[in-house]
Amino acid sequence: MKPLLIRTSFMLASALISFSCNDNAFPDAAYPRMNTLPVTNVSSTGATFHGSTLQNGTEEIINRGFVWSTKQSVTLEDGQRIDLGPGPEEFDAEVLSGLSPKTIYYVKAFAITKNYTVYAPYVQFASN
């Protein structure tokens, strides 16, 4: 029985230490998944936007940034945007002017790859 115990112990130990490093929240895809984080430093004319990459896709990110407007469905075609280019997974941008006081805005992080434009969920904020 001793070999059985040793083998069983070994298998249990290997199972315990074989925790996968795969912590992906999405299935694999060509495009990345982005997230927009809460807006900080909001003033009457500006704010600081924050974004992050939740999961990279197989296509390389060419550009990333933020797009914002007073519409929830804001896109690159109809909103104001700031381009940051390729960079780290956590990124942010400080907008110093261009916002109207006491207005509700919606901002989305975005990423562009060879074939896709990906929009993160919007974050709502109100200028002072």
Binding site: L12, A15, S18, Y116
Partner: protein, 415 residues
């Protein structure tokens, strides 16, 4: 991600091998359990040797006896011998009794011997005064219909039988009336009566075994968890499954309680296990509108049930099964929906996913127990658990869910 897939396959292969090894060891060791004892021949001669110990029904119908280690064993039926017993343990006597109107010959276990002798035969109890008048102690459930209403009550006939047998000791009448219909209570009143009748002896067999015993321990391991969510999602029917099984460590305390006087093999078993589980789930239907949910639970899992332990060996196999409840101590979630429209991908947040506070389920497992020293033993176990999941329906969702868990557990018990 081929590397991750390979790793997952290897883990599942290990799990499969572990289950096969445990099953093999279980069947290999589920053998005889010879202990020191004796048989009493029909000529009333006592022959010492070893007897195969059984906790269940076989003890009442068969006696497997051998004279010494490795000797040839012989099976005796109740008609072949007058009785058998274990040294400092259980004692059986061959008798013919009427049980529920049927006549049977079997080995009756003597629980208490004396002026009144108490016997157990399978699930039934018998009492015998002066070894001349053996009667079954009955307590049948009776259904009565009075004015259209159904009432269920117990017959309590055994109180009448005991009162009749013990009427010559009036000071214990009230004790007799309070006697419950279970082994411990019946044995107690017979013992009290035999002592009341000064000059008679009362022998309690198997008395070295305690009525109740609790074994505490620590338990830990790894849990492989796969949830599924099904139902209506904002008018879009969808099914969401785990993107991969969630692996999380488990740690907690265990409790095994038993009544060795009644059974050495059956235990009530329970444990309190803490787990921190993160599920990543996604749509499995092939549509352009997909749900992705990340859920993080801090859980207290409380499985409880019964364990059957096979004959004690260097490695003792066991089986267990029961129900479980999982309490969500802390929950956080991110629910996102994704739409792919041409070249554009829109990810929207649905906020928190509606979750329940608890899960209910059932579980079963097989394992082995081995002794480390006089004070400690250790267990290895594989468990399967199925719960009713964590999804709670809300205004715009009508969801059902389930979680399948496979657990590898290692325990250290203090005897």
């Amino acid at each position: 991600m081929p590397g991750q897939g390979t790793k997952h396959v290897i883990t599942m292969k290990n799990l499969h091998i572990a289950v096969v090894l445990l099953c093999t060891s279980l069947s290999a060791v589920a053998q005889t359990d010879f202990r020191k004892g004796f048989i009493i021949t029909l000529e009333k001669d006592t022959v010492s040797g070893q007897i195969d110990f059984h906790d269940g029904g076989r003890a009442f119908s068969t006696c497997l006896f051998r004279k010494a280690d490795g000797g040839e064993s012989r099976s005796y039926a109740p008609a072949d011998i007058a009785g058998y017993g274990f040294i400092d343990g259980r004692r059986f006597e061959s008798k013919t009794v009427t049980i529920n109107s049927a006549v049977e010959t079997g080995f009756l276990e003597i629980l208490v011997g004396g002026k009144v002798t108490l016997y157990k035969y399978r699930e039934a109890f018998f009492a015998d005064k002066d070894l001349t008048d053996i009667r079954q102690l009955r307590d049948e459930r009776q259904t009565r219909i009075v004015n259209g209403e159904t009432f269920v009550r117990n017959s309590n006939e055994y109180i009448g039988t005991l009162t009749y047998f013990m009427s010559d000791c009036p000071e214990i009448n009230k004790n007799v009336e309070r006697t419950k219909f279970h082994q411990r209570s019946l044995a107690k009143i017979v013992e009290v009566y035999n002592k009341c009748k000064s000059g008679t002896t009362s022998t309690v067999y198997n008395s070295k075994k305690p009525w109740a015993k609790a074994i505490f321990g620590i338990i830990g391991g790894v849990d492989f968890s796969s949830p599924t969510i099904d139902g209506e999602w904002m008018l879009f029917g969808d099914k969401v499954e785990a993107l991969r099984s969630a692996k999380s460590p488990l740690i907690g305390i265990s409790l095994d309680a038993s009544s060795p006087r009644i059974s050495e093999r059956f235990f009530f078993t329970s444990s309190f296990l803490y787990a921190h589980v993160t599920y990543h789930m996604g749509s499995v239907t092939n549509r352009s509108y997909d749900n992705f949910i990340t859920l993080e639970f801090h859980e207290l899992r409380i499985p409880f049930g019964f364990r059957y332990s096979f004959a004690p060996r260097l490695v003792t196999p066991f089986l267990n099964a029961g129900l479980s409840t999982t309490i969500h101590l802390k929950t956080s979630s991110a629910w996102r929906q994704e739409v792919v429209s041409g070249d554009d991908v829109y990810l929207t947040s649905r906020g928190e996913f509606p979750t329940s506070d608890t899960q209910l389920g059932f579980w079963g497992g097989i394992g082995i127990l081995t002794r480390i020293n006089q004070k400690f033993d250790t267990s290895f176990e594989v468990r399967y658990e199925h719960t009713n999941g964590f999804a709670a329906s809300s205004l715009d969702t009508s969801l059902t869910s389930s979680v399948a868990n496979i657990q590898l557990l290692v325990g250290l018990r203090i005897k």
